[in-house]
């Protein structure tokens, strides 16, 4: 009985040690996440959301990969769920507003997007929301003048909005090139902002087409809006294909004539001498045979 008591005491002590270790492990603080929602409408089509998740590491924000965030429209319920997204290595995830929330979408001109993260082993739960008003940009062009009109949906009418800052640019492969020296424009009382197209001589591909773009970026009320329009204001660029010309870089049958002349002349001259010297051996052999 005494021995059993001893063993029991030892087991109890061991259990306490483990329990103590686990208690200590659970005490490790979880990280806090910063969740941000961005709203995008491109070319006045289906809106999309971009979620950015960050956390502070050594005093600096770093993107967090692999965080699953649930998105809702206006309220956190099954009927208004936009979807569940998981962040990539840049800490970003995006989703289009699905058809399933169309009914809810039509109920109002202003909406609030909710993002919730339930928390996991590493991070505490987190939430974010973004409220936007439905708006759009209309882009018109005439005589190398571009007019962008920003309209907000009020009740059932698209109403011009004054004082919205936007960019009017040419869409290029490496980024957007402003159409003139003014980097940004602001809409007037008619919701319009006009810019003169001063990028004359801009290469525009085979057909001379350029893509104009008007953008509202990170607007507190409207989020990110953009619209594009193709115009024929570029210079037609017809690439000259030199592939079949005689160049140093062409195929062997297209070697430059001067190069062929020089190199083959040298080649024939040197090998001519060598052939002559081989015949010379035959001549020496003949002389030897006559002796």
């Amino acid at each position: 009985m005494k021995r059993l008591y001893k063993n029991f005491s030892a087991l109890l002590a061991l259990a306490l040690v483990f329990a103590g270790y686990n208690t200590f492990a659970q005490a490790t603080p979880k990280g806090d996440l910063s969740i941000a929602i961005n709203y995008f409408v491109d070319n006045n089509t289906v809106p999309s959301l971009l979620v950015r998740v960050k956390t502070k590491v050594n005093g600096r924000f770093q993107p967090v990969e692999g965080v699953s965030v649930n998105l809702f429209l206006d309220k956190d319920s099954a009927g208004t769920a936009i979807g569940r997204v998981t962040t990539n290595r840049k800490g970003e995830a995006s989703i289009f507003i699905p058809v399933s929330v169309k009914k809810q979408w039509a109920t109002s001109v202003k909406h609030t997007f909710l993002a919730t993260f339930k928390g996991d082993k590493k991070y505490e739960e987190g939430k974010a929301d973004l409220t936007v008003a439905r708006a759009k940009i209309v882009l018109t062009t005439a005589d190398k003048t571009i007019t962008a009109t920003v309209l907000e949906l009020k009740d059932t009418t698209w109403t011009p909005v004054k004082g919205v800052e936007l960019k009017i640019a040419i869409k290029r492969l490496g980024g957007d090139l402003p159409v003139n020296e003014t980097p940004t424009f602001t809409t007037d009382s008619t919701g319009q902002a006009s810019a003169d197209f001063k990028r004359l001589g801009m290469p525009g591909g085979k057909s001379g087409n350029l893509t104009l773009i008007a953008k509202v970026e990170d607007n507190e009320l409207y989020g990110n809006l953009s619209v594009e329009k193709t115009v024929n204001w570029g210079v037609k660029f017809t690439p000259v294909n030199t592939f079949n010309n005689r160049t140093l870089f062409a195929t062997r049958d297209k070697a430059p004539i001067w190069l062929q002349l020089i190199s083959y002349s040298i080649l024939f001259a040197v090998w001519g001498v060598l052939v002559f010297l081989v015949f010379n051996i035959i001549k020496i052999r003949k002389i030897g045979g006559q002796v």
Partner: protein
């Protein structure tokens, strides 16, 4: 009696000799190294170039270094035979055959090592069927073939009078060799007409081989200089390569002079004066090569362009610095210091210097190829860690060593078949002296 006793003595001294015990061991060792190299090449053919350490960035490794080394060493044929002859340098006459034999052996293995580097050997055939005359690689193929042919002719023509002498010693040569001598030179009767044609041919060859030799190494340098890379983007490359080639070739001749002199007891024919003169030649060439090296490295070092910084620092104080300073000191500077003293130009010190020059030159070629490829102008991104370094695999080492052993084997066999010092020329020289 056709010849005097002195003549018979000269002939007896200079006739090719059978291998002694040391000779047989030497040939055996070289053959084993060649066979290991062949096995490694079999593995390369079986599994592909993946058995090498060459990857996307270092696509030219030890094979191309070795190729440049062989091409360089082969240039000595044109220096000793042609340039000395045309310049009226008489003392170089006993060294001409050594130089030509080295040239032939080196150029054969330069061609073979290129085929090894290609991976699949049928690509060599495609060079002829699909090669472009605009490409320096095709120029190299053409010029190597031409140089090989000229070297063979330059070895063959001066041999003809010696073959006539060799044919007189059937018993010493043995049946097989006698038949071979008979096949290649029995028609030589030594008539004035034959001598006249032969002399004319040798003169033409001497004139032809010089531009071809310069071309072969200039074109080899253009393989590098026509590409835009740190360390290769140089207008100086052709001259720099040729200066280095003459130096390593002369070093090889010095080593061969010493070995043949010792092995065949040729002290009366390859004298200390020859070493003395070759020593002066090596000093001159070392200084010339040093000058080109300074041109090649000092100005980029002074500017230290950002794009070349990694490459230059790697050479001067980084991963390659030990090899770099070894090549410069052992291959160029210390030989100059030794050879400036009269005692340094004695046979044994000259032999050591020759070895130093050759070893230094081999590593110098390695430095020309690899550090540049590891430091491209566009920095390496998202590549496996192995792409950042290059150290040859055992297959590459075995093939390289096999090729070096193969070249030495060819030199050894040619020295067994043909007189290492031209007999007829030596006799003529003796007669001229007597008069």
């Amino acid at each position: 009696m056709e010849n005097s006793i002195t003549d018979e003595k000269i002939i007896a001294d200079l006739l090719p000799q059978k291998f002694g015990k040391a000779g047989k061991i030497w040939v055996g060792v070289l053959t084993v190294i060649c066979l290991i190299g062949l096995f490694a090449y079999y593995r390369q053919l079986r599994y592909g170039l993946i058995v090498t350490a060459m990857r996307d960035y270092v696509s030219w490794g030890i094979y191309i270094s070795n190729f440049v080394f062989f091409v360089a060493i082969s240039l000595v044929g044109s220096l000793i035979t042609a340039i000395f002859r045309l310049a009226g340098v008489k003392w170089g006459a006993p060294l001409t055959r050594i130089a030509e034999i080295i040239a032939v052996a080196a150029i054969i293995f330069a061609s073979l090592i290129i085929i090894v580097d290609m991976g699949s050997p049928e690509r060599f055939y495609y060079l002829f069927t699909h090669g472009r005359i605009q490409s320096p690689i095709i120029w190299d193929v053409i010029v190597i073939t031409t140089y090989f042919f000229i070297s063979i002719l330059l070895l063959y023509y001066p041999l003809l009078p010696d073959i006539k002498i060799l044919l007189r010693f059937k018993q010493k040569s043995g049946n097989g060799l006698h038949k071979f001598y008979n096949y290649i030179g029995s028609f030589w009767q030594g008539t004035p007409a034959q001598f006249k044609l032969s002399e004319k041919a040798i003169n033409i060859l001497c004139i032809t081989i010089i531009p071809v030799a310069f071309t072969i190494h200039t074109v080899t340098s253009w393989l590098f200089a026509t590409t835009y890379r740190p360390g290769w983007d140089s207008t100086n490359f052709g001259a720099y390569f040729i200066a280095g080639a003459f130096l390593v070739g002369s070093g090889a001749v010095v080593v061969a002079m010493y070995v043949f002199r010792k092995a065949y007891h040729l002290e009366k024919y390859i004298t200390e004066i020859h070493f003395e003169k070759m020593g002066r030649v090596v000093v001159l060439l070392s200084l010339l090569y040093l000058y080109f090296n300074m041109n090649e490295f000092l100005t980029p070092f002074f500017k230290m362009k950002k794009s070349e910084e990694g490459y230059l620092n790697g050479l001067f104080s980084g991963d390659f610095s030990v090899v770099f300073w070894f090549a410069i000191l052992i291959g160029i500077i210390i030989p100059v210091v030794i050879l400036l003293f009269r005692q340094g130009r004695k046979p044994l010190p000259m032999f050591i210097v020759g070895i130093m020059v050759i070893v230094g030159a081999w590593f110098k070629r390695y430095l020309i190829v690899t550090p540049t490829l590891l430091n491209p102008f566009l920095p390496m991104h998202d590549v496996p860690a192995s792409y950042h370094h290059y150290f040859p695999s055992w297959e590459e080492w075995a093939i390289t060593m096999g090729s070096l052993a193969g070249a030495l084997l060819i030199i050894t066999i040619l020295a067994r078949i043909f007189p290492i010092i031209p007999i007829q020329e030596t006799l003529t020289e003796q007669h001229e002296k007597a008069i």
